[in-house]
């Protein structure tokens, strides 16, 4: 078991109004899964992904990652966990605009502080080729199309060979064809590299590629079934 989430609750306090984003969520993710979390906007998909990825904290419940309970970890410890275990793909790509494609992709490796510049260069070029961006490494993100930017984002998530990649609506800002190509790329990486993928979506076209489909509505799990992509 790579990840186990038990009785997760999250409440947002906005002024005098409390909004419960997650109600007693419990899921388990095995290594190598390609899982979609689906549900309408505001259902709690992003919150769940953020908590799984140690970007946000739950109000109650437990997360056990690779056999380690994350309860009570300091923000520094959580940062190191994110650095080591997770890759992130965002709906709006979230690339650093001042850095080139190459620099954006190498950043997670630089943060790990365990590779030489030569090793980093080799790995970055390898990943850029895998995602079909070779030759564009010196471009700035804003000089690329949306699909290309999302490929950079995928390369950035993949480059350090994380145990798990969390993708929050990775195709929502892309047209159908580009969205399809991005999902295919993710599937290919999942197969080839064995990286566990959890992605959120409300797009039916994308959902069909998932091997496991977790439905969420109003912060509660509505269904958990095998997907067509199996």
């Amino acid at each position: 078991m790579l990840l186990e989430v038990k009785n997760l609750n999250k409440i947002y306090h906005t002024g005098k109004i409390d909004f419960q984003a997650l109600h007693n969520i419990s899921i388990a993710i095995e290594k190598g899964e390609f899982t979609a979390i689906c549900g309408p906007s505001g259902s709690g998909k992003t919150t769940l992904l953020n908590i799984i990825g140690c970007i946000d904290r739950a109000d109650s419940g437990e997360i056990i990652l690779d056999g380690t309970n994350l309860k009570g970890r300091t923000s520094r410890e959580l940062a190191y966990l994110r650095r080591k275990y997770f890759g992130f793909i965002f709906q709006t790509y979230n690339l650093i605009p001042v850095l080139t494609v190459y620099e954006n992709v190498e950043l997670p490796l630089k943060l790990l502080k365990k590779y030489s510049d030569t090793e980093i260069r080799k790995r970055v070029m390898e990943v850029l080729e895998e995602v079909g961006l070779n030759g564009l490494e010196n471009r700035k993100p804003l000089e690329l199309s949306g699909g290309q930017q999302q490929r950079v984002s995928i390369a950035r998530a993949l480059v350090k060979k994380p145990k798990m990649i969390l993708a929050d609506e990775p195709t929502a800002n892309l047209d159908t064809t580009t969205g399809e190509s991005i999902v295919h790329l993710m599937m290919e990486m999942n197969k080839r590299e064995g990286v566990t993928f959890i992605f959120s979506t409300h797009d039916q076209m994308i959902m069909k590629h998932a091997r496991r489909l977790i439905s969420i509505r109003d912060g509660k799990i509505e269904g958990d079934k095998e997907g067509e992509g199996l």
Binding site: N50, I55, R83, F86, F90, I96, V98, L107, L111
Partner: protein
Amino acid sequence: MKYIFLLALKNILRYKRRTVLTFLILSFGIAFYLLMFGIVQGYKKQSIDNFIQFETGHIKIRSASYDKDDPYSISNYINNAEEVKAILKKKSFVKSFTERIQFLAEVDNGRDSSPCVVVGIDIENDPKVFTLTNYITEGNIFSGGALLGESLAKDLSLSIGDYIYITFRNEQGVIDSIELEVSGIIRSGDPMVNSSTVFITLEDAKRHLNTKKVTEIAILTDNLKKDKKYIKELQKELPDNQIKSWKELSESIEIAAKQDEVTTYIFVIFIAVIAIVGIINTMLMSIYEKVREIGTMKALGMTDGETQCIFLVEGLIFGVAGGIMGILLGSLFIWYFSITGYDVAAMMNKNGSGGMNISHFVRVIYPTWDIPSFFYAFIISVISSTLAAYYPAKKTTKLQAAECLRTIQ
């Protein structure tokens, strides 16, 4: 650390106009500090040089009863001048010495009058101690003649060959008045000499004052810096005389220079505050504009300390670059004014006080190159901009990755 530096540098270069503006504030602040400091130091050096060259020499011997609050009193006459001169002749460190008489008088052109100090100088020995005669622009000094400061001559509309009346009290306290021909005009770097001094020969002064005594003996030694040692030696043999070095006599200049240094420091603090506020503002705006990026970097595994470090390094880069640019600009300013001079008198006429204590002794200031102040300027620049970056940088540690990523920009 390399990637943190890279990110910081790229962030700085992202908003060019804002960066240039902040950078200019810092650079000009540093440059003005260096110029101000150079001017104050230049003023101090020129004032002391003037003081030594026109008034004190390296060491001055006076009567024991000399009262600095009443510098032209009759009791200031040295009674043992011959004994003093005999001792000075025996001292190997004494390169030369000269006698002078100073007394208060009123100079009159027949229509207008002006208070002045009359200085009786030994024509033969005075140039061996003082540089006064190098500044004579017209005519000369001779018996029966008077050498006037340029401003004084101008104020009284006097030129060579005109006659003046000098009214004074002689040693016995009797008011006397003498007629002298304007024999020369002097324009020195010392405004006091230019505006309110009349020089006559020592012999004329003694005759008119009806005395054989002098009020001071100024000495030029072989080493300006050994003044303490020489004074100690002289004081042993001349216990009844007041013997002072140029340093002690120029205390008032030191005090004035210190006050001007304080003014400079206040100016520096003022500039530093402006630069700090500018940097804080630039960096806070930069942080608010980069909230999502901060969130992304934290999501990628960057710790709070590392994100804070990026902004601290931005401040450091501002400080280093601003410091270097400020030093270059400051050098340019100092170089320019060291050639043209900074006309304090003109500034005074324009702005009243001019804001500084300068002008009593120097008319045109030539700033000096004070190397330690360049070093301090650089340190001030680096420390103040890094400190300025601290608050905005600290703010990034409070930002939660999830909240940052939720921010709509």
